[in-house]
């Protein structure tokens, strides 16, 4: 069975500072990895995804993530955050057999302060 652990429930950071949101996963099979963002009272939208190939993945809004197979991690980073990045971020994993089930972490609330 797959599982996802997001190590920080809340991350406060000042505007224009860098940020890293941490994610570790466990799985016995090859997986796809995702980061989604959720703004208040909305559904989730995809930030970026790792399917194969280059371990550094770039997404929307200046975010990027690095897949580390040996450490089973997929941490999300942004070099300089904006107030508008305040949201909840979810790491997720699905197996490569067709995406039948995607498992999400508990989420990390990013709070950007002026």
């Amino acid at each position: 069975a797959q599982s996802v652990t997001q190590l920080d429930s809340q991350v406060p950071v000042f505007e224009e500072a860098p940020v890293e949101l941490r994610c570790n996963y466990s799985s016995s099979v090859s997986v796809y990895l995702f980061w989604y963002v959720q703004y208040p009272n909305q559904g989730l939208q995809l930030l970026l995804k790792y399917l194969s190939g280059s371990t550094l993945v770039k997404g929307i809004n200046g975010f990027e993530a690095e897949f580390n197979k040996s450490q089973t991690s997929f941490h999300l980073r942004k070099p300089s955050v904006h107030i508008s990045d305040t949201a909840e971020y979810f790491c997720a994993v699905s197996d490569k057999d067709g995406g039948f089930k995607t498992i999400f972490g508990a989420g990390t609330r990013l709070f950007v302060k002026a």
């Binding site: 997001q6 429930s9 796809y32 995702f34 009272n41 909305q42 559904g43 989730l44 939208q45 995809l46 995804k49 399917l51 979810f90 699905s94 490569k96 067709g98 995406g99 039948f100 089930k101 995607t102 498992i103 999400f104 972490g105 508990a106 989420g107």
Partner: protein, 113 residues
């Protein structure tokens, strides 16, 4: 392009009352459909998924049920709501040719009093 719609957006129901949340997808055929529940501080919990009409898999034993009467329609129901059913319910779809990502509706917030 594909779109997904959920309704109602907000619902306040008394304990013991029935529930019906509806989700429809447009612009695609034979999608995998999912219901997730989001409770505060607990992330997204997969409740049900469906790979075709009439095919429902339940992930968590609970007071809820799901049905898929048409290819692009997914319904979440309950005969008698519990306080613990309160939460934010999200419908999502995954289609063939898609590279694994889910597309979510706007969500339905249920408060059981």
């Amino acid at each position: 392009s594909q779109t997904i719609h959920q309704w109602p957006a907000t619902l306040v129901q008394p304990v013991g009352s029935p529930l019906s949340l509806e989700c429809t997808v447009e612009g695609t055929s034979n999608p995998n459909l999912y219901w997730y529940r989001q409770a505060a501080g607990r992330g997204l919990q997969l409740l049900f998924y469906s790979v075709g009409i009439g095919q429902i898999s339940s992930e968590v034993p609970q007071n809820l049920s799901a049905s898929r009467p048409q290819d692009r329609q997914f319904i979440l129901s309950s005969k008698k709501l519990l306080l613990s059913d309160s939460g934010f319910y999200l419908c999502a779809w995954w289609g063939q040719g898609n590279t694994g990502e889910l597309f979510f509706g706007e969500g339905s917030r249920l408060t059981v009093l």
